[in-house]
Amino acid sequence: MQDLLIELYGGLARDDRHSEWRTTFELFTRENRREKETIDRAYREAITDVLEVGLSSSGLNPMDYEFNLELEDSLSLSDSVRTAFVGEENVRRFCEDVGKSRSIISDISRAFEQVAKRKLKRRETLESILKKTTKE
């Protein structure tokens, strides 16, 4: 899901039609990569505990959170931002639900909680971009 969003923001950053937002979308790309790295790192640090201690958990169903991003070059900026909004909300919901889960070990749920909080801030930023671009 993060990879799809990274691709979307990367495309928007490169699109000359929205050059005034280039820095913003480049920042989003970097932040999404860092968020992905946060989760990867938590996984790599916890995997041994899971295997050796035999922790079992009733996980979430990722299919409940998946989304498709149609990355069309012809989309307007506001439509692209709406698309990103949907994607970010799905990721935020997933991370929030994992963060709340008591059955998943605390290092992992904490990492997802962190990402969920950042996605809340991202939602606010996307909403303000949408307001500005819709006026335009």
Binding site: R41, R44, E45, I47, T48, V50, L51, E52, V53, G54, S56
Partner: protein
């Protein structure tokens, strides 16, 4: 079925790493390193001669005086760099381990993590190797203990955790000021080769850490070399006890030999069944049974036939659901054995168990492999019921996915059986009773004890224990034991006129 990208793009002939350089050894032969899941050639490993070992030790001897004078804080900073490099190559190193060993990707990632943890602990050496002192042991006279490095140490590594095991020893040895020679297993040499690429990149001074690929000749050269102060070994009891410990100690070397195992897992009638069965699957069949902490004998305690039958059925169902395949396929739950010769050995034990009269309730000789890979090294989980303690399958280390199920009427009898075993590597009890758990932990003659933990693997800041025929020496790998093993206490008494 998602198969991750292969980490090995071409077949290379591996080289030794001596004095900060990659060198072609004067090898006696080149052996194939084969991916046991695909049966494809991954690399060729040189079987070095005694001369190659001598060259590595010479480089380590030469590097020692200057390294020993390097402040501990500076030494630890190399390990900070190594840790970051290992994190950056985490996935690649893990996949290399899958390809040469056969374990599944999550097991390999777990191994990589445990290896890194030892590097992390070694960065604490400035505090960890402090001595102690007292003023005025007599009026105006002070006494202190300092811990000093000794010189060159060596590690003879096993095939089953090719990345992790040398890291139980090397970081502590080197961070405390010694220099080092690693001899990886010739079966699984690529993981250490990858690690040494990172060691090279971290910029350790030449000669401080060296690697020599090889087999018996290299081992003998290490055992006999007068400049090697100590040896760390992980492998079979017969080699560890009769060759490494005996000959190493006879030539005045410090030795720590972590050897074979036959681990008992005891299930009490008040065990929490779901979590217990899940733990048992990982313990008995994880890494295809090729770990010294693997469960071997399952002891179900009590006279309740209905509990016994229900529990055993859950175990059989769990084992039957294990998906067997290539470790780079993320849906796989159990990979192949590391080599055909190991499979032949395991098959021999299964045949022996049947011959001895144990009931084979799950026959691992019949299995399917996801993805249609060649079956040469694959085998399924096997479960024997009605195993008696004096059967060969109950006493000898199989090193494969074979579970022997036994019953005892009470905890007394289970503890008696465990303590009668020649081995004392690891043991576990599954119970809700603190009283039973405490008694168990107190009385068993085993080094690594799990209470509701199926694989009681000590983390890096604890010693990897072991007793009886599972360990020879006085000090174990990892943690404070490792620091004591790699240093000598020098007592200084001072008076100033």
């Amino acid at each position: 079925m998602v198969v991750l990208e292969e980490p090995i793009k071409e077949v290379r002939t591996l080289r030794n790493y001596v004095n900060g350089e990659w060198v072609e050894p004067s090898y006696s032969e080149l052996r194939d390193v084969v991916n046991p899941a695909t049966m494809k050639l991954c690399a060729k490993v040189p079987i070095s001669t005694a001369g190659d070992v001598n060259a590595a030790v010479e480089a380590a001897v030469e590097a020692f005086p200057r390294w020993r004078r390097t402040p501990p804080l500076t030494r630890s900073r190399y390990f900070y760099r190594l840790k970051e490099l290992m994190e950056g190559s985490f996935e690649e190193m893990s996949r290399v381990s899958v390809v040469e060993h056969g374990k599944i990707i999550d097991e390999a990632r777990g191994e990589t993590r445990r290896g890194i943890e030892n590097v992390e602990v070694a960065t604490g050496i400035p505090s960890l190797m402090m001595g102690y002192n007292l003023e005025d042991i007599s009026s105006g006279i002070d006494e202190c203990v300092v811990k000093q490095p000794l010189g060159v140490f060596a590690c003879i590594a096993p095939f089953n955790f090719p990345l992790m095991v040398p890291l139980w020893f090397m970081p502590y040895a080197v961070a405390t000021g010694n220099t080092y020679v690693v001899k990886p297993s010739p079966w699984t040499p690529m993981s250490q080769t990858k690690l040494f690429e990172l060691i090279d990149e971290a910029g350790f001074p030449p000669g401080v850490i060296n690697m020599v690929h090889g087999d018996a000749e290299a081992v003998n050269a290490i055992l006999k070399h007068p400049d090697i102060k100590g040896i760390s070994f992980v492998g079979s009891t017969s080699i560890g006890r009769d060759i490494i410990y005996r000959e190493g100690a006879a030539s005045g070397k410090r030795v720590q030999a972590q050897c074979g195992a036959k681990n008992f897992l005891v299930v009490m009638p008040d065990a929490i069944v779901d979590e217990t069965v899940s733990s048992l699957m990982t313990s008995f069949f994880g890494s295809t049974g090729q770990r010294c902490l693997a469960g071997a004998n399952l002891v179900i305690v009590g006279e309740d036939d209905s509990f016994y039958r229900r529990f055993l059925n859950r175990v059989i169902i769990g084992a039957s659901n294990i998906k067997i395949g290539y470790g780079l396929d993320e849906s796989t739950q159990m990979g192949p054995l590391q080599a055909e010769v190991r499979k032949k050995r395991v098959l021999g034990f299964i045949g022996k168990g049947v011959e001895e009269g144990a009931k084979l309730v799950r026959d691992g000789r019949e299995f399917e492999v996801l993805g249609g890979y060649p079956k040469n090294c694959f085998i399924g989980p096997s479960i024997f019921e009605g195993v008696a303690p004096d059967m060969v399958v109950a006493k000898e280390e199989i090193f494969g996915p074979v579970m022997n199920v036994m019953r005892t009427k009470d905890l007394d009898a289970a503890i008696g059986m465990i303590n009668a075993s020649e081995y004392g590597n690891s043991v576990a009890i599954f119970t809700s009773s603190g009283k039973a758990a405490r008694r168990f932990q107190y009385e068993v003659t085993c080094g690594n004890v799990g209470i509701n933990v199926g694989i009681p693997a000590p983390v890096a800041f604890f010693p990897f224990s072991g007793m009886k025929d599972s360990f020879f020496g006085d000090l174990h790998g990892q943690g404070r034991d490792a620091i004591e093993f790699f240093t000598e206490r020098k007592v200084v008494i001072t008076r100033w006129f």
